[in-house]
């Protein structure tokens, strides 16, 4: 079955992960700009990071037959550094127009401070200006309240709900999101957030409309094969194939297609893998022989 992983931080992952993901049926992924595990202190770090998402990482994915898209934005944790936040927000218009940028994100709340709310609102304005959907991170701590505040902020800004994907839902927050016009993302994690059996149960209970699953794999304990593993879990409790297809393909494709830069028809043909190609003279090969073609 063909799948999209609509939230996975590949810069933190290995080439083995790309091989395994492609073998498991993942043909496209979206890598949201996020927090790198420790704070960046200058705007230049963001310039290089955004460029790496658009450049080297997309190239690296293509070398394994996977199409790479990204979202660009200022994450909530670093929104709390006021000088940095202003500089990064001023930089975003340069990147939001690039090909392959399919949403603004991750935006949202972490500690739920006023600074985070301000940066969240300003990025909704940018989304409107650049006609992009928005990927909203919900916090680990005080998640239900953080989800409620996110929805209230989106509604107060009168931002179109069908252009918003609220991510990292659980049993407590999903009904709140489905009660709006927003899409509902779920990050399937080995120990925290959501697991594949609970996810399958939620699809059974709430149906497939606006339901999305992702691995959110990053530099922590996480698993880039959680989307295919969740399809197995859904199948094992008797969810029909068309419904599974809707959750792991139609829904994320429809959401990101709103950017005008995510061509679903184009995904039917995998990118031709040519490992003799180089990106700024770097190859993913490390002395291996190219296969004869």
């Amino acid at each position: 079955m063909k799948m999209i992983d609509p939230h996975v931080h590949m810069t933190s992952r290995t080439t083995d992960d790309y091989v395994a993901m492609a073998a498991a049926g993942i043909v496209a992924l979206v890598e949201p700009a996020f927090w790198l595990g420790q704070p960046r202190t200058t705007v230049g770090s963001f310039v290089d990071y955004f460029n790496s998402l658009l450049g080297w990482e997309r190239f690296r994915a293509s070398q394994f037959g996977v199409r790479h898209f990204c979202t660009i934005g200022l994450n909530p944790k670093e929104a709390n550094n006021p000088k940095l936040a202003d500089d990064v927000l001023a930089l975003l218009p340069r990147f939001l127009v690039k090909d392959g940028v399919v949403a603004i994100g991750e935006v949202g709340f972490d500690d739920q401070t006023e600074a985070e709310a301000d940066v969240f609102r300003r990025q909704l304005d940018l989304a409107r200006e650049f006609d992009l959907p928005v990927l909203v991170h919900t916090p680990h701590r005080d998640k239900k309240q953080g989800t409620i505040r996110s929805i209230e902020l989106i509604q107060a800004a009168k931002f179109p709900e069908e252009l918003v994907l609220i991510d990292h839902n659980n049993e407590e927050t999903l009904p709140l999101v489905l009660n709006t016009g927003c899409w509902a993302g779920h990050s399937i994690y080995p120990n925290t957030k959501m697991d594949e059996q609970r996810m399958a149960a939620l699809v059974k209970k709430y149906g497939t409309s606006r339901m999305i699953v992702n691995s959110a794999a990053d530099w922590g304990i996480s698993d880039p094969l959680k989307v295919p593993k969740t399809t197995d879990a859904m199948r094992s409790i008797g969810i029909p194939e068309e419904a599974i297809h809707q959750v792991v393909w139609d829904n994320p494709a429809a959401f990101f297609a709103r950017s005008g830069r995510f061509d679903v028809a184009d995904l039917n043909e995998p990118p031709a893998i040519d490992r003799s190609l180089k990106y700024e003279s770097n190859s993913v090969l490390r002395g291996e022989q190219l296969q004869t073609r």
């Binding site: 709390n80 500690d111 701590r141």
Partner: protein, 225 residues
């Protein structure tokens, strides 16, 4: 006996003679040398005196031994260097230099800095930095800010303090380790903890046993801080 005296004496009692001589020179440099010289010694402290446990059990009565439970010799040396600087530098210059020690520090230096910050003159001016430090995903760094440290309960406004408590619950850091938490418990924290317990139950996961302390906040509301 002042805090400085206690730290100096306990470091000297635990380290080699050569390291002791280095410490004496470093204190002198910290008071009278350049910023770069102090920063270099702040970094070198762990290499020079090591990271053995600081033992303050022999300190004078009335000394808050619990606050130093996890301190290392290097933590004590680094805090001593900034305190030595404070005797000669004006408050603004000390603040700039102390912030550099944190921002340019590796994890070990940042842990030392967070353990010592409550003992610097006018510690409340470092509040934004300590709140930001709690955003880390490195649990030992978070513990240095959150645990056996008077700073958060003394200076954090309610919202970041509540976030700190919730983060401790998430990371299996015992709430009993948050110094001075009792009088700062509040209704909003109890609400956050109750939501968290619901979320864990809905996910079929265990609720941390010491969540009861955070839940008890409703009873403490109105207690003067």
């Amino acid at each position: 006996m002042t805090l400085e005296d206690t730290l100096h004496r306990t470091v000297r009692a635990r380290c080699s003679e050569a390291a002791g001589r280095w410490f004496t020179e470093a204190l002198e440099t910290a008071a009278h040398g350049s910023d770069q010289q102090l920063l270099a010694r702040y970094t070198a402290a762990a290499r020079q005196v090591g990271t053995a446990q600081l033992d303050v059990t022999g300190a004078a009565s009335g000394f808050d031994v619990a606050a130093f439970a996890h301190w290392t010799l290097a933590d004590a040396v680094r805090t001593s260097l900034l305190l030595a600087r404070a005797t000669t530098a004006d408050p603004g210059a000390l603040q700039v230099l102390a912030i550099q020690c944190f921002e340019q520090g590796d994890t070990g230096e940042q842990i030392s800095w967070l353990r010592g910050v409550a003992f610097l003159p006018q510690p409340e001016r470092f509040l934004p930095l300590v709140i930001d430090a709690c955003r880390t995903n490195i649990v030992p760094l978070f513990e240095a800010a959150a645990c056996e440290n008077a700073f958060p309960a003394r200076y954090f406004p309610e919202r970041p303090l509540n976030q700190l408590v919730m983060k401790a619950l998430f990371n299996n850091v015992r709430l009993a380790r948050i110094a001075g938490l009792g009088p700062r418990l509040n209704i909003e924290l109890a609400r956050m903890a109750a939501d968290f317990a619901d979320e864990r139950r809905a996910a079929g996961r265990p609720v941390p046993p010491d969540i009861d302390l955070a839940l008890s906040g409703a009873r403490h509301e109105g207690t003067p801080v």
